[in-house]
């Protein structure tokens, strides 16, 4: 149902300006959408590649960890974990991709992981821990890509909704309103001309 509009020249000018702005906004949003889709596809590809690579490595590391946990007395592991020599954390910075802020992670770790007694722990534990330490950087990268996909995908959904609202609702409504005012003004003009002709005829007849 089209909105009621005042059929005046002022309104016609205002609506024309709004239509031009809406079309410009629509084009910009569509360009942004295309750019984001392109970036998303690149990120998805690298995510898939990295997750395939990590999957095989993680299975092996977890198997080693399970084996070493099974071979060691729980109190020995508990004692080794009481005072961790390694401090691990992740620093976050934000990267701007076409107005979308995506977190970038940087792994920070200090210290030597092998800081417990060797007498009561199996060699698998040392191997598993050092391998896990090596893989941690890539795991953090996987988490970064994962978050990037989530953020970009939600932005794409939002922008798509806006583009569709502009394309299928706002712009057609504005174009319709402009057409209606044009027709109404032409009609008023015609009716004025006819009225003038009629008045002229009446005046001539007298």
């Amino acid at each position: 149902m089209p909105k009621r509009v005042n059929a005046t020249r002022m309104e016609l000018l205002r609506l024309r300006r709004r239509t031009a702005l809406a079309k410009k906004g629509h084009k910009l949003l569509k360009d942004k959408l295309d750019g984001l889709v392109q970036r998303l596809l690149e990120i998805v590809k690298s995510h898939r590649r990295l997750s395939n690579k990590l999957e095989e490595e993680l299975i092996l590391i977890f198997q080693k960890l399970a084996l070493s946990t099974g071979q060691t007395r729980p109190e020995v592991i508990y004692a080794a974990t009481l005072l961790p020599a390694v401090k691990t954390s992740v620093d976050i910075s934000l990267k701007n991709i076409m107005g979308v802020k995506i977190p970038q992670y940087e792994l920070k770790s200090e210290g030597n992981p092998i800081s417990y007694g060797f007498a009561e722990t199996p060699a698998e534990l040392d191997q598993a821990l050092s391998q896990f330490m090596d893989i941690l950087k890539e795991l953090v990268k996987l988490a970064e890509l994962n978050k990037a996909i989530l953020v970009i995908a939600s932005h794409i959904i939002e922008i798509k909704r806006r583009v569709n609202a502009l394309e299928y609702i706002l712009i057609p409504e504005l174009v319709g309103a402009v057409r209606y005012i044009k027709m109404k003004l032409a009609e008023i003009e015609r009716s004025t001309t006819v009225a003038l002709l009629k008045i002229k005829d009446i005046v001539r007849a007298r």
Partner: protein, 106 residues
């Protein structure tokens, strides 16, 4: 600065505190739910890894928590391999957003 946390069965992650990673042992889905709540209740930014087998029943909670900018919950395979949950989640998300499935040739 974010902490790294991991939720997995105890026999897989018992030695990981040596590397400065916070561990939340969970042997069942119910344990995993409680562990996820404990790990996220601290209101500190965190990077949480959870094994796919434990995350099967927690997908709704995980997707809700992942909306928060401070949290990032990532599914990883365990010693038995991947169930394909993480990749199918990503695939569904991409399908919903761009309206097409992404097939990557190896």
């Amino acid at each position: 600065m974010r902490k790294i946390k991991i939720i997995a069965p105890k026999y897989l992650i018992a030695p990981l505190p040596i590397l400065g990673i916070e561990t939340y042992p969970a042997d069942s889905a119910a344990d995993a739910k409680a562990a996820l709540e404990t790990a996220t209740n601290k209101k500190e930014p965190a990077l949480i890894f959870i094994t796919e087998r434990l995350a099967v029943d927690l997908q709704e909670e995980i997707s809700k928590l992942n909306q928060k900018p401070d949290l990032n919950i990532v599914l990883i395979p365990d010693n038995q391999g991947s169930t394909g949950l993480a990749s199918s989640q990503i695939q569904d998300l991409v399908k919903n957003s761009i309206g097409a499935e992404v097939v990557i040739r190896q």
